[in-house]
Amino acid sequence: MIPETAILTAICLPLAGALAIAVAGRISPNLREATTLLTAAALIWVVWGLLPTLMAGGRPAVEVSEVMPGLTIAFRVEPLGMLFAALASGLWLINSVYSIGYMRGNKEKNQTRFYVCFALALAATMGVAFAGNLFTLFLFYEVLTLSTYPLVSHKGDEATVRSARVYLGVLLCTSIGLFLPAIIWTYMAAGTGDFVHGGILAGKLEGPAIGLLLGLFVFGIGKAAVMPVHRWLPAAMVAPTPVSALLHAVAVVKAGVFAITKIIVYVFGIDFLFATPSSGWLLYMAAFTIITASLVALRQTNIKRLLAYSTIAQLSYVVMAAATLKPLAEVGAAIHMVAHAFGKITLFFAAGAIYVASKKTEIHQLRGIGRRMPWTMTAFTIGALSMIGVPPTAGFVSKWYILAGAFEAENLVAVFTIIASTVLNAAYFLPILYMAWFEREEAGAKAHGEAPFAAVLALCITALLTLAFFLFNGPVIELESQVVRALPL
């Protein structure tokens, strides 16, 4: 397929899929699920088909509409967006397999709406990934927020609606209140919002204004969950687990950190920011978030909430890496998106599988569960080790790069933060592993086995991916190195 067509297809395909799913849902559930899987597979074919072009240094771009003079809806594929799109589309297929097991095993209501919104969210994710300028990014960022709202409020009871209100409230308030002014400011200052290698703001702004604009961007992109705009993420945990797994561990949150990274690299420009003292605060804010979120995670008793706080900490790894403003760290930021995605989706899949099989949601209930659900807990263990950053898991690779970047920048705060958070991660994950494998189950507990096959299959695949990424990460690193290498654009 011609790359330009492929970009538009990648966005329209899930949209068409959503429509087809809605129609199929009226006929039969099997047909509906088949449509979802088919759409997901087709999306992988389209998106991954772009990879060779990118590897060869191509930057396919397409402009859809000039909404107002200077304000266009345009797409341009570059390594960061490519990686994000490839990751989200690939995991969507696995997640769909898992969803079938989870939703059927749980006998959830309104399943058609669930699959339709999921497809819409993926279309928005593709739009975010391929956005060629700030306006397009913002457009799809908001679509992503709105299309995930019905997924978060899926259950529809009062507590869920209240949490969904927090979700929507925080995300819309930050994006309209801070992100939008930042975008307008950028357009006013630079006259454009295009993502250009080396940034567009150099020489257009100076002094404290740069730090302020950066702040508007970072806190405006609430999806990145840098404290204090992280509250929506624990609130989003009321959603069904497949939503938490793909959207609130991969697509939505990664859209946030991805957007921040992209803005740092292509709007500000690394060199420009590095020369600006007023932007230094970002690294410390991210470090603060990492440590604080990890401390909060220590105190959680609910599995999904613990994972949510762990996600907040891990997201700030990406932000901190991007804010280190060194080539190696930028590569580390990109790789950490992948590494964390594999590990965290595995953890969420496992948490959901435990819920389907045994209705257990709290950590203290996990005593001895390893014997009842060996596959699930093995995958959980791999995911947890990846979060801590133990070889041979994906988490080790990205931490290596981020640390290398921190040393390159000679930033001891970053180095210390990574070490301290590794210790904290171990402190909240290892007790769970110990409990699950080595402690005895309480007497008189209900007997149960593994979750439905589809769910177990999905989590085993992602666990394997977590391990495989440790060994086969060459192409990803090569692709992302293009971000920092001066390529003609």
Binding site: M68, L71, L139, S153, G177, P181, I184, M188
Partner: protein
């Protein structure tokens, strides 16, 4: 003269002469068909005029061949073409959808009169827009106001009567103020033709009567336009009017008054009076900001769906006035665009309300539980228009917010604080729209109400969805209204012919 050259006159004549004919169409349904045909014809005329304006021709028409300034002149430029589009568009769309809803709310024997009043209202509003003459504007204003009093009071809701009485009193005061102002200017310049007035007002030596005239005209039109704090007639009038009348009036009635205000002020006063720009800003800007903030906060706590949307209209009028108060090209562009986009969003919302009203007699938010299950398509259309009202990117509302913010930043001094006002009120819009969404989607249905699938009639639903989709279309491809809005700004502020 070719047919094209008669269009400005036909724009008024077609609906106005159709009105008495409609009264004769007694059998059920015919009156509606006749009115709709007339409405669509005027919409077609407006489109033809807009196309001609985009080609660069300003249509000037001298009634009876008597040239201005002595004869009566009609003129259609970019600004009037834009407002004509939204007036006739709203009229035609509401009429097209109206049949089933009106059948339920108006007795069959009164329907011909009702539709006749509707067409008179349409003719009056269109007349205001095409007139190039201050006195004729007053005449058409009276025609449209009288017609809208009848329309609002025409429904089964008795609470409409006190509401319309209040509207009548305030509307009459507004029109009188306007007339006093025009009289004073006539006294000083000896002309009623706007272009002539613009030319002669510079020669006036004694400026005090002109200043007083400016005050009277501005306040009078602000009353008509429901500018905060002169808006008190609006919420109740819109709430208790028949649903389709609310669609029509909410989409365009107040905007026409704003149109006159902006045109009068920038053509006649600002051009010639020194410091008038400053005075106008000083008057309009605080009122606009207050209106935006106060009305949005009130809407956040309003419990009745229609009154909530009506209150939000007051805030939206604030946006339009805010853009105008910058007295800059960017400001007028934003203002004109917001007129157009708000008409789309609010028209769509009230259409969806008319759909809801088919199964929910009581439109208080607390009574709307389970609506999404019974009327999924209606509720989805309502959400789309609501997003446009909030100004989510990809919808029409975003375009005007963007323009407004850009204009605010260009205005200098208070730029950023005005941006903050716009953003805060957008967030308030999120709150009140989401209250509606939660009521429709998550609230438990009342115990005795039935929960079967029961969509609104197809005709109504189709129009509602067409408007909802236009909200998205003009969010992605706003070129047509934007070209007209840019033209208006160049005309009013830029000094282009």
């Amino acid at each position: 003269m070719t047919f094209m050259e008669h269009l400005p006159a036909l724009q008024v004549v077609v609906p106005m002469l159709s009105a008495p004919l409609i009264v004769l169409l007694q059998p059920r349904g015919l009156a509606w068909a006749g009115a709709t045909a007339a409405g669509l014809a005027s919409f077609a005329i407006a489109i033809a005029l807009a196309m001609a304006v985009l080609d660069g021709q300003t249509q000037v028409y001298a009634m009876g061949g008597w040239a201005a300034p002595y004869g009566i002149a009609l003129e259609v430029d970019a600004f009037s073409a834009l407002v004509l589009l939204l007036v006739t568009g709203a009229g035609a769309a509401a009429l097209l959808a109206a049949r089933v809803s009106v059948d339920r709310q108006i007795e069959p024997e009164r329907q011909p009169l009702f539709y006749a009043a509707w067409l008179l209202g349409l003719a009056g509003l269109a007349g205001i827009v095409v007139s190039a003459d201050a006195f004729n504007i007053f005449v058409f204003m009276e025609i449209s106001s009288l017609a809208s009093y009848i329309l609002i009071a025409g429904g089964p809701d008795r609470r409409a009567l006190p509401a319309v009485f209040k509207y009548l009193i305030m509307g009459t005061i507004g029109a009188t103020f306007y007339l006093i102002g025009v009289g004073l200017i006539y006294m000083m310049t000896g002309t009623l033709n706007l272009a002539d007035m613009q030319a002669r007002i510079g020669d006036v030596v004694a400026l005090n009567p002109i200043l007083v005239a400016a005050g009277f005209i501005t306040i009078g039109l602000a009353l008509k336009a429901a500018v905060f704090p002169l808006h008190v007639w609006l919420p109740n009038a819109y709430t208790h009017a028949p649903h389709m009348v609310t669609v029509f009036l909410a989409a365009c009635a107040t905007k026409v008054a704003l149109y006159v205000l902006i045109r009068f002020d920038s053509m006649v006063f600002q051009d010639r009076l020194s410091d008038h720009e400053f005075q106008f800003t000083l008057f309009a800007l605080p009122l606009a900001v207050l209106g935006i903030l106060v009305a949005s906060s009130v809407a956040m706590f309003e419990g009745h769906l229609k009154r909530l949307l009506a209150t939000s209209s007051v805030a939206q009028i604030g946006y339009i006035l805010l853009g105008a108060s910058f007295v800059s090209e960017a400001g007028i562009t934003a203002s004109a665009m917001h007129m157009f986009n708000h008409a789309l969003a609010k028209g769509g919302l009230f259409l969806a309300v008319a759909c809801l009203a088919f199964h929910f007699r009581d439109l208080r938010l607390s009574e709307l539980g389970g609506a999404a299950r019974r009327m999924p398509l209606t509720c989805a259309a309502l959400v789309v228009c609501g997003l446009s009202l909030i100004g989510v990117p990809g919808t029409a509302g975003f375009i005007s917010k963007w323009l407004l913010i850009t204009a605010a930043l260009e205005s200098g001094l208070w730029g950023w604080s005005l941006v903050a006002v716009i953003l805060v009120s957008s967030l308030m819009a999120v709150v009140y729209i989401w209250r509606i969404v939660e009521a429709l989607y998550f609230q438990q249905a009342s115990a005795e109400g039935d929960t079967s699938f029961a969509e609104a009639p197809l005709q109504l639903l189709l129009v509602t969805w067409a408007v909802a989709l236009l909200n998205i279309f003009f969010g992605l491809f706003p070129h047509l209204p934007l070209a007209l809005a840019n033209g208006s700004a160049a005309l009013l502020v830029g000094g282009a012919p």
